[in-house]
Amino acid sequence: MDFTYTDDQRAFRDAMRALLMVEASPERVREGWELDAGISPQLQELIAAQGLSALSVPEAFGGLGLADTDWALLSQEFGYYAVPDAALNTAYPAACLIAALPDAPSLQQATLPRLAAGELQLAISHPLNPLVADADRADLVLAWADSEVHAVPRSAVDVSALASVDPARRLYRVSLETGAGTRVADAAQGEVLWRELINRSNLAICGQLLGLTQRILDISIDYSAQRKQFGKAIGSFQAVKHHMADVAVQSEFAKPVFNRAAWAVEHGHPLRDVYVSQARLACSEAAALAARNGIQLHGAMGYTWECDLQIFMKRIWALASSWGDAAFHKARVADWLFAPDTEIGPGKTFI
């Protein structure tokens, strides 16, 4: 397993960072909260123009046909700048699912070129997420029904909005009718497709959580160097340093677990479900600690509306139960760990 990112992957990251650093400042993120979409149309257009949604579309349909590890650094940038995750969900797990459909050439022909051009938005309805993000703005909803995959046009979906703890997220309860006309994969095919979609959605969340953790670290370190008590910057006090050091250690330990999970999904490793859930647990714990310690370090003002910290910690809370909560992921790991034929121990568990 080679965890070194390639020049191209780093170039993608740098290009996306150059865009988001300027166009997704905390001020711009806050502006998005007042809009129906939760994100400014200009930022959406810029992200689409970047060609993000072409990355997972096969080359035959006008995309780049890139793989899962290519998203690992990009998703961290999305988290670092708290960009709402609709663009990421459309471009990565949803695009991969459509590209992998075994018997739906007409749907692929109708959607993938438009996805590559950034002209199509998708939403995903699955029992793991009772509320569907951005269903109102999606052109097509990919829906789970008894393990089958259905592609339901937005016009056939009723949505009712619900508030999220994260002011940038737009969540909806959806009501849709599925049938032979909307079915694009049967239950046997769907089992495989949904499994990969759950893994990819969780990889996207892991990346965002790592980016969010790093952002809280950076904000908190800056603040601790400026805020003074007893005549000194509070960052010089050991008890304050320890809060941030704990977060940095957790984050650094989560990164290789995340890298392994991305590699495993890309290469179809038999234990990819376990690795993804393990990564999700590690990244979630690091991010939750970052949010908690970030508030501590900012004193009483960490949770206030004026403080940018709230943007990032609320995104962490919002993502906490998206695509499976801790219990779901612990159960996936436990199912493997406690199976009678599982070989665990030195040289076995962590290969």
Partner: protein
């Protein structure tokens, strides 16, 4: 019309550089490097000229270590057609760069050469002027507007207190100022497409140029740290301090 653009790999503008302990320079080990921002503006201008149908081919040139290839790939992803890397481990100073550019210009015969007005690492602001002098071409430095015609180029220059427009016969050298344009964001598919564009590597010896440094850096030091300020109770006290202590009034 061919346009030649020179780009330099420098420490990223977001990085706070640190002076080496021995004062011999700044530490660039494991530091993020990227294209000099003024050179990004130069590439953008060339791409806009091509999009406007005024330029037919954009050649980007960089000089230095192997990693300059990354900078050239960025320029190719922005829209340049091909790249030339003059690869050397030797420290390149402005005169050496100007000589190398002169030889490349002789080989490629561009009608227009665009460079950043200066690099953000050494802030020398010399290369554009030197290469124009070596080639015997006209120069329009600190450009905030470039209007290219068939035989000439009008360059609006930012000067103290206003703007000056000069008309240069082609071929000419233009150096870019900050307000010339806003460089585009590199699109992700273009990063992949840039890998397929040609990148030629040459050495200073291939071009017959001696790049031995002529200047020696004696010492590099950080700026003196500012001492803490004080609060004054009134405007009168401020005036008194400026008059009696700072002696600036």
């Amino acid at each position: 019309m061919k346009v030649l653009v020179a780009v330099k790999r420098v420490v990223d503008y977001n990085v706070k550089v640190r002076v080496k302990a021995d004062g011999s320079g700044v530490d660039i080990a494991n530091v993020k490097m990227s294209m000099n921002p003024f050179d990004e503006i130069a590439v953008e201008e060339a791409v806009r000229l091509k999009e406007a149908g005024k330029a037919s081919e954009i050649i980007v040139v960089s000089m230095g270590v192997k990693q300059c290839e990354e900078t050239l790939r960025t320029a190719l992803a922005m829209g340049a057609d091909r790249a030339i890397l003059v690869e050397t481990e030797t420290e390149l100073q402005p005169l050496a760069v100007a000589k190398l550019l002169k030889e490349i210009a002789a080989k490629e015969a561009p009608q227009l050469m665009i460079l950043g007005k200066q690099a953000i690492d050494d802030d020398a602001n010399q290369t554009g002027q030197m290469v124009a002098a070596l080639l015997g071409w006209g120069q329009g430095t600190f450009a905030s507007k470039v209007d290219l015609a068939a035989e000439t180029v009008n360059v609006t220059r930012e000067i103290d207190g206003g703007l000056e427009t000069v008309k240069l016969a082609l071929p000419a050298v233009v150096t870019t100022d900050l307000r010339l344009n806003e460089p585009r964001y590199v699109k992700l598919p273009n990063i992949m497409a840039a890998k397929k564009k040609p990148l030629e590597k040459v050495s200073p010896a291939d071009l017959g140029v001696d790049v031995t440094p002529r200047l020696t850096t004696l010492k590099v030091a950080e700026p003196a740290k500012r001492s803490a300020g004080i609060k004054v109770a009134s405007a009168a006290e401020l005036v008194a301090k400026l008059k009696n202590e700072a002696k600036v009034l």
